[in-house]
Assembly symmetry: C2
Homo-oligomer: 95 residues x 2
DNA sequence: ATATGTGTTAATTAACTATTTACAATACTT
DNA sequence: AAGTATTGTAAATAGTTAATTAACACATAT
């Protein structure tokens, strides 16, 4: 029964990983991305790319999958809210 | 020790899911995407988007995560092959 | 008041997905 | 052999997104 409700966007989760006194500017510098890029991620204005997940994992000591998977679930949630075509399930020969 | 070696791209895996006699043209029709779009996915010229994973899961009776997750791992593998910045791990206060 | 630092927006560039149209190559049918 | 279907791919177009730098408003410190 997991992931039933609107998940937090990954940037929100990332925010919780930053030390209290750490500024966006400083974090961006350590991640070697621009201030703007990090700010957008933190505010859900941009997603976490594969490359970004590698940066985050190197910095925070996690696996990249944590971040990329979170983004994937977010993307999926968003896509589910869009209108979808009516696709008839493929008939497979019974085994 | 999973995912150590170059993973097959998702399109390759998808190909194995199609019934023997099913043509790309026919599959594209059922998925309600253009022939070109499906062909590109099958040949690794395009990735599987969240929307596409929903189509595939509806058609093939899987979860969307199967396809989207596969794409994610592929993307991660590709990203790992790129040159990466040297990021110093964040010093955290010991617990 | 002047300077500095901070977070966000604006504008730009680059990359990617998806569509239609078109073409060449291959296979299948009659 | 002639015609038909299938496939992969390319070109042109439209829409989306990520990343950068430049610019802005706001705060803080000297």
């Amino acid at each position: 029964m997991s992931r039933m409700h609107n998940p937090a966007h990954p940037g929100e989760v990332l925010r919780d990983w930053l030390p209290e006194q750490m500024t966006v500017t400083q974090a961006a510098k350590e991640l070697q991305v621009s201030r703007v890029t990090l700010s957008k991620v933190l505010n859900g204005k941009a997603g976490i790319t594969a490359a970004m997940s590698l940066r985050l994992s190197a910095w925070l000591g996690t696996t990249p999958d944590v971040w990329l998977g979170m983004q994937t679930q977010w993307d999926l949630w968003q896509a589910k809210k869009q209108p979808r075509p009516n696709i008839k399930p493929l008939e497979r020969l019974p085994v």
